[in-house]
Assembly symmetry: C2
Homo-oligomer: 250 residues x 2
DNA sequence: TTAATAGTGTCTTTCAGACAATATTAT
DNA sequence: ATAATATTGTCTGAAAGACACTATTAA
């Protein structure tokens, strides 16, 4: 008897059933001012032809590494090219209800990925099945992926409040207006430009000045804005809170 | 070929390796004003004799149900007796680094459980191996359980700020001082009684008055306090924020 | 009686949000 | 020139935290 069998039977005699562990990735980016999620079109059964979150089996690697690998495979991006290195990846939640996959018991560890505007996956890669979709146009998804996406969006909206997560959505040098566009896209509401500007600069470590200014102003006029890069804060104090909505509180 | 084999090989040809999925529970309660965690002493190899978080295999049940079942088994509490129904259980995070269990690949979905002061597990049950330990005396734990516990404590401390979680640690009727003792135990610092009192009552839906007063005052004197029960708020607005510590921000 | 506690009042500082004003730039 | 934008200033109200005070109760 192998040590593995002994292990399994000693804990749970006679009731061991095979389980598969996968990662699914909610990859978010901002394109043209709107929040997009990366989806794939399923080829095989079940849910053939449906849209789904990119994902796959966990191999001999950490869960974080599996998520990053799946993201790289589906987007066609290669590690080391600098693009993937700037993608922020974090674990979201694990989904494992019996019956969520009709074939067998599948435990899915969901991940969130935040990235500056990424190139279209179709361009020059074998990941032809993936595409960016505005989150409000995601529609129905395979398995329980719609619920996973909803949880991911909740998490993203919440983390904008008390972490510098927004800087993960912009280039390494950015303007305050760039940052404000991230908040507007993720929260789905406009923010007051003047108050936002003062607030961002008042939070220690959120952003730091590069000393440079942008080469040109806004598309429809205005002065050339100053450029900033992400600061060293891990938490925003005081936080950038959304106005409380009654629905959330009750 | 079964559908399961087909499924596995089509996704990951030739690389499938067996995986076990477990739940581990960080169960927290407050006894004598101090935060305690439920631990078990391991019998078998590896880490024989070490302390560990209670946990076990996921059976044909949801992950949430598995966590609740493990908690019930280890504490000797039976469902339906009213005690377990008042335990708040939520998913914490999933741990799955290769090598975290030397025997085979084990993915552990960790859960947090919050409960009012629970009876000692040894009393009248077959769960003789479990016991409550003050969190600062947990010491070294088997596997990566020390890291899981640390993550659980972080989560608990954080959720006290913006959710009514503290009410899960007290009886169904409680005083403001009871609530303050929860915050003091979890955060590890005393809170100003007067300001805390006013703050709790000012947050809509945090607590509601029962109209009753306690049968007696504090152990060393003082007026008989009013009694409250948990309100209907799911989030605290405005939140009850801890003073920011530099360590957290940087 | 003494000491501790519940609950309330007051003041200061910080911060969010509304609104205004000015300077700068694309078209 | 015109309109849009970046940035700064001002004001108001909410809220946090420090501190003080009174009434009530256990020992």
């Amino acid at each position: 008897m192998t040590e593995e069998q002994e292990f399994l039977e000693s804990y749970n005699p006679g009731e061991y059933a095979p389980v598969a562990v996968t990662v699914d990735v909610v990859a978010l980016t901002i394109r043209e001012g709107r929040l997009h999620v990366l989806l794939v079109e399923r080829g095989g059964h079940p849910f053939a032809g449906w849209r789904a979150l990119p994902g796959g089996f966990v191999q001999d690697e950490s869960l974080d590494a599996a998520a990053l690998r799946e993201l790289a495979e589906e987007t066609g991006l290669r590690p080391g090219e600098g693009v993937l290195d700037r993608v922020h990846v974090e674990q979201l939640r694990t989904y494992g209800n019996p019956g969520r996959d009709p074939r067998m018991r599948v435990i899915s560890v969901a991940y969130l990925a935040f990235a500056p505007s990424l190139p279209d996956p179709r361009a020059g890669s074998d990941a032809a099945g993936a595409f960016w979709v505005p989150v409000e146009a995601a529609g129905e998804l395979a398995f329980d992926h719609a619920a996973i996406l909803a949880d991911g969006l909740d998490r993203a909206r919440s983390k904008l409040e008390y972490t510098p997560l927004a800087t993960a959505f912009v280039e390494s040098e950015f303007t305050i207006a760039d940052l404000r566009a991230v908040y507007a896209a993720v929260w789905g509401e406009e923010l007051h430009a003047g108050n936002f500007h003062r607030k961002v600069l008042s939070v220690p470590g959120f952003v730091e000045s590069t000393g440079e200014i942008a080469v040109r102003g806004g598309e429809r006029g205005g002065p050339k804005p100053k450029l900033y890069r992400a600061g060293d804060a891990r938490l925003l104090h005081p936080a950038l809170l959304r106005p409380a909505r009654e629905d959330d509180v009750r």
